[in-house]
Point group: C2
Chain length 312, copies 2
């Protein structure tokens, strides 16, 4: 998101209306206030206007799905794709538990619908985009060659038809509610959100999936694999035993500890809020958190804006 | 540059060592201190360590050069290329005056060298890169078709040989010293640096080149066209008349005024220092500058770090 925001306008705690950024694609005119405000969770001011970068709608799109015998291999395959510089517009990894969730959800929900159950294996969903049909097809071919050749990828399916693309991606799009449905009665979930260097992604995703199994909790794992960002959806039910809840939180804590040891971040997308404040000192050491506090005190000395979030 | 910096370590004015960012490709864990420090020109602390994003060396590269009858058309051609979503790794625009500078410089410097004089017309230097030879060739073909079809681009030359690529790009690489050599005795130059939305790029570049002619000063114009960033090199000589210097500074001021009116930034790469402080209030309105001052005061209340730069 951040790289698509060129500028914004915000109202600061003292009432100042501040213009941040410009409409130009780059700038070195003073402090990058746009990026400072983006993701500041309302703790520095209220954003009242945003200028976004626009991208052309791609002329040619191919959606692809393929499976792997092993979650680790599936994740490594994505890192290899990036190292080989093959452009991929979207790349999502789902573990076996996610596919089970989708199949069950699909069976109960789609009365008479034609979506076939998916093979229960770690699965990658991909999308290739570009201005040229040849180039986009070649990206798909190169990907299949890397995945099948070195990582055991198989059962490749492709489509460029828009309706079929949506069908092919439906397992990914329905994943949150499908995961909740794995535990009848669940109305919410602990949703983890860590992001690690790509070289550590396979290790972290597979360790988390193992952890979920060992702790005996329900928790489909999936990831925005090309970014090294992954989530685990851990549905909870009102009345869950303390032990169950402790296991759920332990899965989250373990994955964050592994993430921080790997040089990653405790949140890739969802933010800090109250819940992840405790990890910031570990992630940025006391000095980094001290610097955030200096920024907060400089802009909001009376602690008026969303107090208690990010900075204690 | 900014988007290639994942994290950094800095020493703050109070002696704190602050860790900013992580090794992950994205993060929403608190304020984006990495981007705040990047380009802060030493006014917030001393950067002691930087973590950069690495990119694979492209398997296939094609360098290209072509000319246009008109500077405006050349700049518009680049905007069209971006709108058509054709990937281009490098894209540099040189005006006629830049080509004159190169030809003269080349003639005097390369005794017996084989680099031919270039046609004196607005010229685009491009580079296409990728993992596939077919895709890269296709990018070049699509570019020629857009440029020649709608913008009068001609005299396309291509090479994928590394030594030939360097030769082809030499006019661009030697431009600074070639421009100085246009005014014998010049040891420095006023180097402008503005960045505008792509839709305004053609208008701004050609207005600046016109302005240089009208004021009767020497000032080759060139730009990182795909970013909307352009420069004008205005060589000055010790002993230049006040009138000449006034004209040089007027060219710079005019281009910044046009840039700000177009929603751009007074500096795309070079920074603010002392010289461009006066434009910041206009660019960000008083509110944006006030917010920068709040950040500065929060981190450096005693104004110890590079005082007087960016913030008065």
């Amino acid at each position: 998101m951040r790289e698509n925001i060129l500028g914004l306008e915000c109202v600061l705690p003292d009432g100042t209306v501040a213009k941040c950024g410009t409409r130009a694609l780059k700038s070195s005119a003073g402090y990058d206030l746009t990026s400072l405000m983006t993701g500041s969770e309302g703790t520095l001011g209220i954003i009242t206007n945003v200028t976004c970068k626009l991208h052309p709608i791609p002329e040619h799109v191919i959606a692809a799905v393929c499976v792997f015998d092993d979650l680790y291999q599936a994740a490594e395959a994505v890192a290899a794709l990036k190292l080989c510089d093959v452009p991929v517009a979207r790349c999502e990894l789902l573990d076996e538990s996610s596919i089970v969730a989708f199949n069950q959800y699909n069976e109960t929900r789609n009365e008479g619908a034609c979506i076939e159950p998916m093979e229960v294996k770690p699965t990658l969903f991909l999308e290739f985009q570009g201005a040229s049909a040849t180039a986009v097809e070649e990206q798909a071919t190169m990907t299949e060659s890397i995945f099948a050749g070195d990582y055991g990828g198989s059962n490749f399916r492709y489509t460029s038809d828009e309706a079929e693309r949506k069908d092919l991606w439906s397992a990914r799009h329905n994943l949150y509610y499908a995961s909740l449905a794995l535990r009848p009665g669940a109305e919410g979930a602990v949703l983890t959100d860590a992001c690690v260097p790509l070289s550590k992604f396979a290790e972290l995703v597979s360790a988390t999936a193992e952890d979920v199994k060992e702790k005996g909790v329900i928790g489909p794992c999936f990831g925005h694999a090309a970014d090294g960002n992954f989530h685990c959806i851990l549905p909870i039910i009102e009345g869950d035993s303390e032990e169950y809840l402790a296991n759920v939180h332990q899965v989250n804590d373990n994955l964050i500890q592994r993430t921080l040891a790997a040089g990653g971040t405790c949140t890739g997308e969802h933010g800090v809020g109250y819940g992840k404040i405790k990890y910031l000192v570990q992630q940025y050491r006391p000095g980094g958190v001290h610097m955030m506090r200096m920024v907060k005190q400089g802009i909001d000395p009376l602690n008026l804006m969303n107090p208690g979030k990010i900075i204690e």
